[in-house]
């Protein structure tokens, strides 16, 4: 796969990724291939992750969490039950992608996500109150991200949904996702992210932009 040529290096921005797990490293490799500068952090000091990053996401830089938070866009891909360990102050004012899901089979029941009907991203947004949160990458398996990424305007390119309450942040994330190799469908406000949470048709299905649009907006009408 060869998405994004080298000449983009100077023009694309910096992506910070919190979480060097399956999702974080897959997004990192796509972002590097697309010409972004990528900084990855976990809850551990940067030095602990240096070898992991060198081998698993070559071209990215292992940093401490507060340095990753300085990037143009920050992706949060930590286990959801640890969302409160993500420092809200460092992400104030930032465009933040919430790739996390509430999946009680693997997460167990987490009280914060059981108390009311809010989507997991709305709960996360309450914690990251000063950030511009965009929910995306939730409905694609980590192992599908690289094989399914395709250059712009390829027929039947897979689409990913974005939901958020800040239009500017959503546009910024849409451009990022497009550069990585996916079409983008605007699902609406952050709360509309419920249409691609676990348990929905969209979750883990593979859809083109047209199909995804129909699924998301069909669901909205019937909701």
């Amino acid at each position: 796969m060869d998405i994004g040529a080298q000449e983009h290096v100077a023009t694309r921005g910096t992506i910070g990724i919190l979480g060097a797990g399956r999702v974080g490293t897959a997004i990192a490799r796509l972002a590097i291939a697309a010409g972004y500068q990528v900084k990855i952090a976990t809850s551990k000091p940067a030095a602990d992750n240096a070898l992991i990053i060198e081998i698993v996401t070559p071209g990215a830089e292992a940093v401490n969490a507060h340095e990753a938070a300085e990037a143009d866009i920050v992706v949060v891909a930590v286990p959801l039950h640890k969302y409160k360990s993500v420092g809200a102050e460092t992400l104030a004012g930032k465009t933040v992608i919430d790739a996390m899901n509430y999946w009680s089979v693997t997460d167990g029941d987490i009280a914060d996500f059981e108390v009311d009907e809010r989507t997991s991203s709305e709960v996360v947004a309450a914690h990251l109150a000063e950030s511009k949160l965009v929910k995306s990458f939730n409905h694609i398996g980590y192992h599908e991200m690289e094989p399914d990424a395709l250059p712009f305007s390829t027929a039947d390119r897979r689409a990913l949904a974005v939901a958020g309450d800040h239009q500017g942040a959503k546009d910024q994330v849409a451009a990022f996702i497009d550069a990585l190799g996916f079409d983008v469908v605007d699902a609406g406000a952050l709360a509309a992210g419920k249409n691609y949470e676990p348990g929905t048709d969209v979750f883990n299905g593979r859809f083109s932009a047209e199909e995804l649009y129909a699924k998301l907006h069909g669901n909205l009408i019937s909701a």
Binding site: A20, G21, R22, T25, T42, N49, L51, I52, I55, V56, H81, W103, V105, T106, D107, G108, I110, G141, Y142, H143, E144, E146, P147, E197, P198, G199, T200, D201, F203, N204, G205
Partner: protein, 347 residues
């Protein structure tokens, strides 16, 4: 290259689709292990899984029984969910089975488990997930590495051991302890740092994409001073062997479908899609479904990326008829294994 199988147990289905007994599933699993030994399979991994469809909850008990009824096959857990179990008890059960096996055939694979069902079952708190896993792994290794029967250990998730006997000791001094991982990079690094052999469970995506993880594992191990021989890699994946690929695809599909319907209900996945099945069953997908030639070819191909020393398949899912499972095991041992060896010798 060792070729093997693993199973979580597989409850059979009645004609109307209802589940037959979990007793029968355990008896079938025991019969399958004995059969695998007879036909010369190298390895059989058992559980741990706690559902009515897959009831192999007690690998220690099954492996002790199998140790008495088999002569050459290696037996291991796949995996023991150590965070919610007691490492002292796991070690004692496996060391007991090791003695019964005649010594040297029993292994432990320590893992986290892909779901959290053991937490309410055994009364543990998910808040302690990481601590439980890390400390219990450390305790298990402390017992295994102990020079004498008496072990001293202290931690916060379990009462300390102050010079207490943990018996029996394994026949050859130690049991092989593997670390199971599903592809998280830090687990590979950790296995390397600890010098433990690593077992990758690959359930989706292209297996050769695990190559950077095995490199990370080996380099982390070398950096921590472990010898290359100690740094072994095995791969567990879904698969099925039949005389032809068409038969293998047809036999494995109903079970795959049933399992995915069940998982989908639990995990909010969409209805299983046959196209996804067929895609995963073709190179470079995650399922090793095919004729002996095709499965052998794919295992040998993956070896070029991962350099693994054991490849083992989960074949009994979603109520696969027992006789088809036994035939697949026979083909694995008698047809796939020699082909893999031939292909690797040609390299």
């Amino acid at each position: 290259m060792e070729i093997g199988a693993y199973s979580f147990g597989d409850s059979q289905l009645n004609a109307d689709g209802s589940l037959r007994s979990t007793t029968e599933a355990i008896q079938n699993l025991f019969a399958a292990i004995k059969h695998a030994d007879d036909v010369g399979l190298d390895y059989f991994g058992v559980g741990e899984h706690h559902t009515t469809t897959m009831p192999a909850s007690s690998p220690g008990a099954m492996i002790a029984a199998a140790a008495a009824a088999t002569t050459q096959i290696k037996l291991g857990s796949a995996a023991s969910i150590i965070g919610t179990d007691d490492p002292v008890r796991i070690f004692q059960q496996f060391a007991t089975a090791d003695a019964i096996s005649g010594g040297g055939r029993v292994e432990i694979t320590a893992g986290r488990g892909s779901s959290v069902e053991t937490f309410p079952l055994f009364g543990h708190s998910l808040e302690e997930y990481d601590d439980l896993y890390a400390q219990k792994l450390e305790l298990l290794m402390t017992i295994n590495d102990s020079e004498t029967e008496n072990v001293t250990w202290s931690g916060t998730v379990r009462p300390s051991l102050d010079d207490l006997a943990v018996v029996p000791r394994p026949a050859s001094g130690k049991l092989p302890i593997w670390l199971a991982t599903g592809g998280n990079a830090s687990s590979s690094a950790r296995a390397g740092q600890l010098g433990l052999p690593v077992s990758y469970g690959i359930i989706g995506g292209a297996p050769h994409r695990f190559a950077p993880l095995t490199e990370l594992y080996r380099r982390s191990g070398a950096a921590a001073g472990h010898k290359p021989e100690a740094l072994k890699v095995s791969v567990g994946a879904l698969g099925f062997v039949a005389p032809t690929k068409a038969e293998a695809l047809e036999r494995f599909y109903p079970g795959w479908h049933n399992l995915n319907v069940e998982m989908g209900r639990l995990r909010g996945w969409p209805a299983p899609d046959k196209r996804a099945y067929l895609a995963q069953a073709d190179a470079p997908g995650a399922y090793y479904v095919g004729s002996p030639d095709e499965v052998a070819e794919r295992i040998a191909h993956l070896h070029g990326y991962l350099g693994h020393m054991r490849h083992f398949l989960q074949m009994d899912i979603g109520g696969i008829p027992q006789e088809q499972l036994l035939e697949s095991i026979t083909l694995l041992a008698t047809e796939v294994k020699p082909r893999v060896e031939r292909l690797l010798a040609q390299k």
